[in-house]
């Protein structure tokens, strides 16, 4: 792996910092609405107190989902991938202005989508299933965010090509390799949502199309919806494989298996969207079953990741004097907030992964589909494995970008633990309620069918939600003081790029060739989606008029 001696320019750092700023700003608003959902089960009609600023529970839930799951993630990830590109390749961006344009489009899209959301004209949640209809500005804004991220991705590809010309035989550094795969996956996957918005939702919301086909729209949405999960997750994996081992004083256990895992995530994470549609009426069971099998296949690189990451951690812990079969875990640097946050994220992800296998299990989905179990699940994945890892990354990234020492690192450790404990409490409550039959996306405090027996679980959710809010704001305050306190202590932070135990140059050359893997990705998508896309498009019925939120 290349030596970490390249010093990023101040402009580059500022550019990445802007991504972070928008991401954290989005989180600061999105996180506010989380506890409001969670407390609602105990104290109903809380939103009455927020009028006229926020009109309804569903406006709040839309803000929570869009800002946290779409904006916080996408801005953080494009910023982080800018870093893995520049620092991994040890060279500046080839066309920085292209990346600035991409970022500008993302910000413009966010502002455009924010208008209807804040006016309660887009309270359709972050899945925006038609025929519930939002203002056209909402669809337009989301499209621009996605297109902007594509443009930034093209900037990464140009930079990679330039590096490849200068280094024709070198292995692509791991963090850059992972970042590029993340971006390719994203660009491939978002074709579904782009098609849904541009051919159905946008013209329909503008009155140019009399109706949409809600079933086909769901198929288009979930073409993007599941790989989206891997777009969130892979940057956390880049950190777990490529940075975290260094932070614990160790090395990456296996460079080649890490690369194989990333290739498998690219190839396997798109052709399985029907596992979100197991109980949809318009998709034949055979195709649902095929997608269930393909979803299971992603379990394989996930298990490889678990092995390699834990083996890398153990290698570091033993070098620090760790002993015993499991007690080596104590020898990890738990006092480093960046490490603590990512280790705790990994532990939560263990439970999230098990729940994910449950969801993907074809007929078992009949029990959990659209119940509170589902948000319980994805708060362990996107809101823990991903978000808590991103928080951990921030604890070295923001000091690196600002040249300041992290403010109150011991508080940052507490922050990570608060998130961990809050999430255990909250997600346990949600999973249990889901198994009892509680629907998701529902203010249970005012639902007439709720039995008294659920009160304890609803209280548990509220309790977990409040802890999570405290943890979110502790994170935001620590970052804000670190970045903006003029009297903050100056310090130089190194980017913790992990070396591999095995020399990356000794890993097989086919692991650094794009074409075979891209062809495999395309082929598998054609096989897994082709027949159903033809069938659903040839029988499309644009019969559903729009229903604005009321």
């Amino acid at each position: 792996m290349a030596a970490s001696n390249y010093e990023m320019s101040a402009t580059d750092k500022k550019f990445i910092a802007w991504h972070m700023f928008v991401a954290v700003a989005a989180l600061s608003i999105g996180a506010l609405f989380g506890p409001l959902q969670a407390i609602e089960g105990v104290v109903p009609n809380l939103y009455d107190f927020l009028k006229p600023v926020i009109q309804s529970y569903y406006q709040g839930l839309t803000l929570h989902g869009v800002l946290n799951a779409l904006i916080w993630t996408t801005f953080f990830i494009t910023g982080f991938l800018t870093l893995t590109t520049i620092h991994g390749l040890q060279r500046p961006l080839k066309y920085p202005k292209l990346n600035y344009v991409g970022f500008g489009l993302m910000v413009a899209g966010l502002l455009i989508a924010a208008v209807p959301i804040l006016l309660n004209q887009a309270s359709v949640l972050y899945t925006f299933y038609p025929p519930l209809m939002a203002s056209p500005l909402f669809y337009l804004g989301l499209t621009l965010v996605v297109v902007g991220s594509w443009v930034e991705g093209w900037g990464f590809y140009f930079t990679y090509n330039a590096w490849r010309k200068e280094n024709p035989t070198a292995r692509t550094p791991f963090v850059t390799f992972g970042g590029l795969i993340t971006m390719v996956l994203w660009q491939f996957a978002t074709i579904g949502i782009a098609a849904e918005i541009l051919t159905q939702l946008l013209p329909w919301s503008l009155g140019l199309l009399p109706g949409v086909d809600p079933q086909f729209a769901r198929t288009e949405f979930w073409f993007t919806g599941h790989p989206l999960v891997y777009f969130w997750l892979l940057p956390a994996y880049i950190s777990w494989y490529g940075f975290l081992p260094k932070q614990v004083g160790g090395k990456l256990f296996s460079d080649s298996l890490a690369r194989i895992a990333f290739w498998l995530f690219l190839v396997l994470s798109i052709p399985l969207g029907f596992h979100h549609q197991f109980v949809d009426p318009g998709v034949p069971p055979l195709w649902k079953f095929i997608h269930a099998l393909l979803t299971y296949s992603v379990f394989f690189p996930s298990m490889m990741t678990a092995f390699t990451v834990i083996a890398s951690l153990e290698y570091g812990a033993r070098k620090n004097g760790g002993k015993g079969m499991l007690t080596w875990i104590r020898a990890l640097p738990w006092k480093d907030p960046s490490v603590a946050a990512q280790l705790l994220a990994g532990i939560l992800f263990f439970f999230g992964g098990i729940g994910g296998i449950t969801n993907a299990s074809y007929n078992i989905n009949l029990v959990v589909h659209n119940t509170a179990w589902v948000p319980g699940h994805f708060h362990l994945t996107v809101a823990s494995a991903v978000t808590l890892s991103f928080m951990g990354i921030s604890y070295w990234l923001v000091p690196y970008l600002t040249g300041k020492k992290l403010w109150k690192p011991q508080w940052a450790v507490i922050q990570a633990w608060l998130w961990f404990v809050g999430m255990l409490i909250f997600s346990n409550g949600m999973h249990t309620l889901g198994l009892l039959g509680a629907p998701r996306r529902t203010p249970l405090g005012i639902a007439p069918y709720i039995p008294d027996a659920w009160n304890g679980r609803l209280l548990q959710n509220a309790f977990g939600g409040v802890i999570l809010l405290v943890a979110a704001y502790l994170y935001i305050v620590i970052l804000a003081v670190t970045a903006f306190n003029k009297n903050g202590e100056k310090a130089t932070t190194q980017i913790p790029v992990a070396e591999s135990i095995q020399d990356p140059a000794a890993s097989p050359a086919w692991l650094d060739k794009w074409m075979p893997w891209l062809i495999a990705t395309l082929l598998l998508v054609v096989i897994a989606y082709g027949p159903q896309l033809v069938a659903q498009i040839s029988s499309i019925q644009l019969t559903s008029p729009g229903f604005p939120y009321k």
Partner: protein
């Protein structure tokens, strides 16, 4: 760089065993799901004839939603979801009945999940209700009690109030 010539992939022995365990686990999962689905008949909905959401309330079987007895302990239930209500809102069948549900929507997407919320007993009836499509699923009701069917898909402001009741009489 001498890497180009080296195409052998090194896999640690522990990691190889771990990968074998992963594959075995997957085979177990696939077997369990397949046995439940294709031998025990716990299956997911399949496409039915399409309907027009704009006219479905006025013509065809959904213009007179409700329970129809077929004889021999078998029933059909036609349910129309719309405007934050299910039609019919209440149904009753004797214990041991096998009921085939046909559900569609006259407006936005809804959900339909049947469970006894008091006892926490779920059933395997849980479908997405999509305008233009008919969600069909058959279940056998072997335990008496009061079951609720609740909307599990966000359908607008009054979504939390959308439910109905199915009584299974002893």
């Amino acid at each position: 760089m001498s890497g180009q010539a080296n195409t052998r992939l090194h896999i640690d022995a522990y990691e190889r065993n771990w990968m074998i365990i992963s594959v075995v686990l997957l085979v177990v999962f696939v077997t369990a799901v397949s046995v439940a689905g294709f031998m025990m008949g716990i299956n997911v909905p399949a496409p039915q004839n399409r309907v027009n959401p704009n006219t479905v309330a006025k013509e065809g079987p959904f213009s007179t939603p409700g329970l129809r007895e077929l004889g021999g302990g078998k029933y059909e239930a036609y349910i129309l979801a719309g405007n934050w209500k299910y039609d019919p809102k209440e149904m009753s069948v004797p214990v041991g009945s096998s009921v085939t549900f046909y559900i569609t929507s006259s407006d936005v997407q809804h959900g339909f999940k049947l469970a006894n919320l008091e006892t926490g007993e779920a059933t395997n009836l849980n479908v997405q209700v999509v305008p233009g499509q008919v969600s069909k699923l058959t279940i056998k009701l072997d335990k008496p009690g009061t079951y609720q069917y609740i909307c599990t898909e966000y359908c607008g402001g009054a979504h939390p109030t959308m439910f109905g009741t199915l009584t299974v009489t002893p």
